[in-house]
């Protein structure tokens, strides 16, 4: 029986936050400490589990076994029931999510989790949505988890309330609701032609789609793609991104750093799986659009990064740049680029996340995030703002130095300059783009130029802002830095440092990930051939 439990590990990233989030709902607002402990505990366990899963995948994969494992939710056979699929990519994304989750949560416990009610539950639900989206192998289930994570992101975005957040949320919600409708339309069209929703099964069936149905199929996929691209923030669909994220509370924004990657993930997953092969008329469909769209996105991000005045918006635009880079890299359609792009995804996400956390520390002197509110139900929210000050923050003498150092660290990371992992990933991408032997298409050159140029733009922008903020003369008091705020930033940056030091193995992982994405047959086999629990037969 105990050996069996390892099999269920894959469901934990979805189930645990759900149960914990629900249980926390039962706690009244005044049990703030219990909530914190529960949430932090959950996030820690999640991190542990996701690392376990990562190790599981990697050890199986590197040992030459099949790394992709599927889990039949409800024990219904594969194309019919919902399947959770753990493979290189999803394990990676899970680990990334739980890392961001834990760090942001630690950060939030310093003060932000009290800026509004029910923060912990929302936060955990957000993690659940992300994990579910990364794990699922079913198109419609993906939609459901998209909605879970979106709904939670609405909640988290509004956490703390205030004019900017509400205004941003209005746009964000409206756009995303519209986008969800597109998702539905796309998924419905795909179903209408293929008759299935399971991604592996779709992969099997798409080549068999009649020429007559191809138009509908592609139309559906294109609409679906638009839905993903909106999430990813591709130009001209991503205007909302920077403003929305900058309005969110810092730990929330830090977690949101991965939100736009969900779109990229979905695109990677769905498109490479369904259209990655060479067979059938639908192969490699839409790649140029991704490539050009991605490049346009980078350009827009560069413009934005240079244009905006606040660090938060800058971080938002750097997210757009990173999304654009990823999209273009996916569109460039080569395995080697993909590995670099994945590395880049991890590193830029961590970097931007840390950046959001740091920005608040830097800009903290200027505002008070907590707006008083009145309770709706009597038992809710027993006067949190007053209690804040009772919690003593450990003031580190060299606060500013640490913040400054962290800032420089983040800026380098995002800009992709040495010595950090951002550099390695950009280098890997460029290396991959040039890996074509004699003929490097002009688009690749353009993309390389943009990758480098965008790094430079970020450097120009952050150096301006950073110098003004950190080096500039200021009579404002040095902000107090709590350990619980410094630790997560440090953790994130340490992870990036680790990525750099252990770039070799990490890169190997990424390469295998890229290969596994190209290996559609392996995925299909792993998913469709997974067997049900034996004792099933005794069911009536």
């Amino acid at each position: 029986m105990s050996g069996d439990w390892a099999r269920h590990l894959i469901i934990v990233p979805v189930l645990l936050p759900l149960v914990a989030g629900a249980a926390i709902l039962l706690l009244k607002e005044r049990h703030a400490l219990a909530k914190r402990v529960a949430a932090l505990g959950t996030a820690t366990v999640l991190l542990g589990v996701s690392i376990l899963l990562l190790v599981q995948v990697a050890s199986a994969g590197f040992a030459g076994h099949r790394a992709t494992t599927a889990y039949l939710v409800g024990d219904w056979p594969a194309p019919f029931g919902i399947v959770l699929v753990l493979d290189w990519l999803s394990a990676l994304m899970l680990a990334l999510t739980s890392t961001l989750g834990l760090t942001s949560l630690i950060y939030a416990t310093a003060r932000w989790d009290r800026a509004g009610p029910r923060f912990h539950s929302l936060f955990l639900f957000q993690l659940m949505g992300l994990n579910g989206a990364f794990l699922t192998g079913d198109l419609f289930n993906l939609f459901v988890f998209f909605e879970v994570l979106l709904a939670a992101s609405f909640g988290l975005l509004l956490h703390g309330s205030g004019k900017a957040r509400i205004k941003a949320a209005l746009h964000y919600v409206a756009i995303n609701v519209a986008t969800s409708l597109l998702f539905l339309i796309g998924a419905a069209l795909v179903y209408g032609v293929t008759g299935t929703l399971n991604m592996a099964d779709l992969t099997d069936r798409i080549p068999a789609a009649g020429a007559d149905d191809l138009a509908i199929l592609q139309s559906g996929m294109a609409v679906l793609g638009i839905a993903f691209l909106v999430k990813a923030g591709m130009y001209p669909l991503g205007f909302w991104l920077s403003r929305t994220y900058s309005a969110a509370a810092p730990p929330v924004a830090a977690l949101f750093a991965i939100l736009s990657k969900v779109g990229v993930y979905a695109l990677l997953r769905v498109y490479l799986l369904l259209f990655g092969g060479d067979d059938g008329g639908a192969a490699n469909f839409g790649e140029e659009w991704l490539l050009f769209g991605g490049m346009a996105t980078i350009v827009y991000g560069m413009i934005g990064v240079l244009a905006v005045r606040t660090l938060k918006r800058m971080a938002g635009y750097s997210l757009i740049i990173s999304a654009g880079t990823l999209l273009a890299a996916v569109g460039a359609g080569q395995g080697d680029v993909l590995a670099g792009a994945l590395f880049y995804l991890v590193s830029s996400t961590l970097g931007v996340s840390a950046f959001y956390l740091l920005i608040e520390l830097i800009e903290r002197r200027e505002y008070d995030p907590l707006i008083a509110g009145e309770p709706v139900f009597d038992d809710e929210y027993a006067g949190a703002p007053d209690e804040l000050e009772t919690e003593v923050g450990v003031v580190i003498p060299a606060t500013l130095a640490i913040i400054g150092g962290g800032f420089a660290f983040c800026a380098l990371l995002i800009a992709g300059l040495p010595p950090l992992s951002g550099f390695i990933s950009k280098f890997a991408m460029i290396d991959g783009l040039l890996n074509l032997g004699q003929t490097v298409p002009p688009t690749s050159w353009l993309l390389i130029a943009l990758i480098i140029g965008s790094g430079l733009a970020i450097l120009v922008a952050t150096s301006r802002a950073g110098i003004d903020l950190i080096w500039g003369p200021s009579d404002m008091p040095t902000p107090a830095l709590r350990v619980s705020e410094a630790v997560p930033v440090g953790l994130l940056l340490a992870v990036c440092l680790g990525l750099m030091v252990f770039a070799g193995p990490v890169m190997r992982y990424m390469e295998r990930t890229g290969q596994s994405l190209a290996d559609r047959k392996g995925y299909v086999e792993a998913v469709l051939r997974v067997s049900r629990t034996q004792a099933r037969a005794d069911r009536p």
């Binding site: 459901v144 205004k167 209005l170 609701v177 969800s180 409708l181 998924a187 419905a188 929703l197």
Partner: protein, 112 residues
């Protein structure tokens, strides 16, 4: 039947799209409601139309062709719930925005 439903979906979509492009928050919310009706019908229609073939099986299930495709129905049910949730959320955000900006223009300023 198909044609009528297709036209109906089209009209709902048009109305919905027209509304979400309007500048008032309430228009947007109604537009999204209309659009979600349209999309629900659309998903449903993707399972093809069948009259008098509800997917309720007897003790022994008949051939699949005797029943309307149940899966799109299940999907629509999920979609209905989710779009209800989102409408509620959007509404509240709208109210909050209205309260805080003093206008119900989507961008927080007046003028058309």
């Amino acid at each position: 039947m198909e044609l009528v439903l297709a036209l109906g979906i089209g009209i709902l979509t048009s109305s919905g799209v027209w509304l979400i492009l309007r500048p008032r928050t309430f228009q947007v919310i109604l537009g999204l409601s209309l659009l979600s009706y349209a999309v629900n019908l659309f998903i449903y229609a993707i399972g093809r139309l069948k009259v008098d073939a509800p997917p309720i099986v007897g003790a022994v299930a008949g051939a699949a062709s005797q029943y309307d495709d149940p899966l799109p129905q299940a999907l629509v049910l999920t979609a209905i719930v989710i779009s209800f949730a989102m409408t509620a959320l959007l509404l509240v955000v709208l109210l909050a925005s209205r309260g805080i900006t003093g206008t119900d223009h989507v961008d927080g300023d007046d003028g058309e």
